[in-house]
């Protein structure tokens, strides 16, 4: 019960959308394909579904090549960004569609539809018209529809991107729970880190048609493989440093990077939250700009006494909302381990 991609490439004419991707998804695992739009992640998903023919490589399920298996015989569920519910059928008709294709008896279908609507939090919605549902409800129905025939693998193409932010966060948590509870094997395509990290057991970062890094969310977040991945994961600046006994020493001071990082030279990836306001911080500077965010204040700070070419002249920093310094004010900053990623030198 596992998906195995080996050297998969997809080409549109002269454009290579996906090149030589290796990836595996094991039984019950949720893997997220994370990348900027246009990186080829959706194309890869469509190749797995059988909607695109790979120009090269193999897509295997349990060691069997799927090349000759048409879409409708693969037994893979697919959820699109915008649901793509059948507008001429009601909610039950949509959810039961896959069961009907498998010729399950009507009584079993009705029971399974009830079960799934319960699972996605839409119990009793059977007879509703899908055109009357909100975006979030539509997406839940799409999910129920894909899960109903018990797919061997669930493919989700930006499943939450069309929803507004509050709903997206709520549904991401629901979806994560649901995938665990039903121990569904799934491949999720997303451009949103939060979504990927909420849903996935492993994250595959994809850029320009290639997979750049695969690993558990926490590891990918803390230890990006290279500068490109780090930039995509929000590290605006890189800073040379030297690690000794789990502590990295840099021009902006020392920061704990954990025992997993071997001693030696590294680069620190600085996210917007890498520096925070501190009374006795080692870094001095002057506030240039101040922007209020939901639960903190973001500052742009011009550094005063650091004068190394490897250090940026201005950095991002965060401060608490209360008593945030105004532009022109002098401040002191300290590195915060939570906002720092570690890259090979």
């Amino acid at each position: 019960m596992s998906l195995e991609l080996r050297g998969v490439s997809v080409r549109y004419g002269s454009v290579t959308a996906v090149s030589e991707v290796d990836l595996s998804v094991t039984d019950g695992e949720v893997v997220a394909l994370l990348g900027p739009s246009g990186c080829g992640k959706s194309t890869l998903l469509r190749a797995v579904a059988g909607l695109e023919r790979p120009a090269g490589g193999r897509v295997d399920w349990d060691g069997v090549d799927l090349a000759g298996v048409p879409v409708h015989r693969r037994g893979f569920g697919l959820v699109f960004q915008d649901g793509q519910l059948f507008p001429h059928r009601d909610v039950a008709g949509n959810v039961a569609f896959g069961l009907r294709m498998r010729r399950e008896p009507a009584a079993d279908r009705a029971r399974r539809v009830g079960e799934l609507l319960e699972l996605v939090g839409l119990a009793g919605y059977e007879r509703r018209r899908v055109t009357e549902l909100s975006g979030g409800e539509q997406q839940r129905v799409a999910l129920a529809r894909a899960l109903a025939p018990r797919p061997r693998l669930l493919l989700l193409d930006e499943p939450l991107s069309a929803l507004d932010r509050a709903l997206r966060e709520q549904l991401a948590v629901d979806l994560a729970r649901l995938l665990r509870e039903t121990s569904t094997t799934a491949l999720v395509v997303t451009h949103d880190h939060d979504e990927a990290f909420t849903l996935a057991d492993r994250v595959a970062v994809m850029q320009r048609g290639r997979i750049r890094q695969v690993g558990p969310p926490e590891r990918v977040w803390r230890r990006p493989a290279d500068a490109d991945v780090a930039a995509f994961l929000g590290c605006a600046a890189l800073l040379p440093a030297r690690v000794r006994a789990g502590v990295a020493d840099s021009a902006l001071g020392a920061v704990e990077v954990g025992a997993g990082v071997p001693d030696g030279p590294v680069r620190l990836g600085l996210r917007a939250t890498a520096l925070r306001l501190a009374e006795a911080g080692p870094v001095r500077g002057e506030v240039v700009q101040r922007v209020h965010r939901r639960d903190h204040v973001r500052l742009l700070v011009r550094l005063s006494d650091v004068d190394a070419p490897s250090v940026p002249s201005t950095v991002d920093a965060v401060a608490p909302v209360v008593d945030a310094p105004a532009p022109g004010q002098r401040v002191r900053l300290v590195l915060d381990a939570d906002g720092v990623a570690v890259l090979p030198a």
Binding site: V15, S42, A49, G50, E52, F86
Partner: protein
Amino acid sequence: MAHPDAGLTGRAGRAGTTRRGGWWLALAALPPLAFLGVFFAWPVLAILGLGVRDGGVLTALGAGQTWRLVAFTVGQAAAATLVALLAGLPVAFLLARCAVPGVGLVRVLVMVPFVLPTVVVGLAFRALWPDGGVLGIVLANAFFNVAVVARTVGGLWAHTDRRAEDAARALGATRWRAFTSVVLPALAPAIGSAAAVVFLFCATSFGVVLMLGGARYRTLETEIYLRTVELFDLSGAAALSLLQFAAVLAALGVGVLARRRRETALRLRGRTETARRPVGAEWTVVAAAFAVVVALLVPVAGLVVRSLSGAHGWTLAGYRALAGRGHQNTLAVSGVDAAVNSLRAATDATALALVLGVWSAVVLVTLGRSRARAGLADAMDTVLMLPLGISAVTVGFGYLVTMDALPGDLRTSPVLVPLAQALVITPLVVRMVLPVLRAVDVRLRQAAATLGAGPWRVWREVDLPMAGRTLLAAAGFGYVVALGEFGATSFLARPDAPTLPVAIGRLISRPGELNSQMAYAACTLLMLVTAAAVVLVERLRVPRGAGAVGEF
């Protein structure tokens, strides 16, 4: 080419599975093309062949009279197209952008002229201008086609984003400036394709010109008829058919180009977002639109009045006479029998056209979905539209020349009329069904496939149910057009089994007050059936596609 992964639509535009089905597609395209080959290409080519063999084609092409005919045909068609555009655009605006009471009614009323039998329209305009003339011909041809402009342009207009216009206004453009610089360019494809179709219809219009022009004003189409039927000048007729054929191909080509631009260039939205209450100067346009509608009703009303008036005031004599065979037995059968013939032939023709039309549309959509074959799809599309533009007279006469070669000698068979009518209405069915099938999101079909539906099952479960209402509407529409078909039917219907339009044509060509009363009464009945069918079609219209009768 855009980067394939640049947007969802770009990504969804292709389906890997269709690439394998090349052979199946080719096979699937055969039946409709075979039908066209046997019942269209062969008769037409046979007629052309006859003419070419006689060797008079070059003489005819060289004759000054031929080119005067061409000039008159093109001139009256261009004038009628212009009138139809001028009258149709305000109506399109009303239908697309205005939330005022009565829009629904206008939608129906505008459609009625388009499906009226040509003899009926000819008769209606003769009632208004007894001595015919160029003006009558131009106005009558325009009268038919206001609906095409209003619906084609209105359909697009209703679905174009209003915000581009709002943005232009916010940037300081006057309402008129915003219209000419933003709206008009956006509508250009629809206007272009509507104009091409209207021009085509006007250039090949038969019944109207025959009735209003008499012997004085002749177009290529009526001249082909006169030469084949009355003068037996086949080479002359063939030469004229060749000319017409070339013109039709050109007009269809323009239509295809315009359509392609329209389909790729636009982001469409629902009608509710774009319709609102008119303000300021917009009311002038609305008033103009209503004036057009009233003008469209005048000939129709004139016809009804004529059917009810006799030498001594109001009478129902015309209607009563329908039970009989007219003054001095002008008809071989009673008016009622002719009506029954009409209904039967139209039913058969509609059934056949639905099968052929849906089949063709499915093949066209499938071809169109794979980019490699888009050119092939365009070619087949054009071929399917050809019967719309080829002289019905040529086709009808071609049947008489060729159909004895088929088993059972179809020339004397009653199936010939429905076959010819099916040929005329199949393109209309294709034009109505095609946009709906094209509008089905590829990803919806893919969703069905991932849920276990095979290719055939996807058509049955997704496309056809979604096009269901349009299919019914196409059936209703095709039915009324078949009911009113005159050009080919007048050729093929046996004297002892005329359809109603053919009977009307015969009645008015013979003297006798009873005959003309009867003709007007029959026209009124045809009109009522037509109007009822149009109302039905409107009811069935898919809510989303509030636009065109088809895309034309």
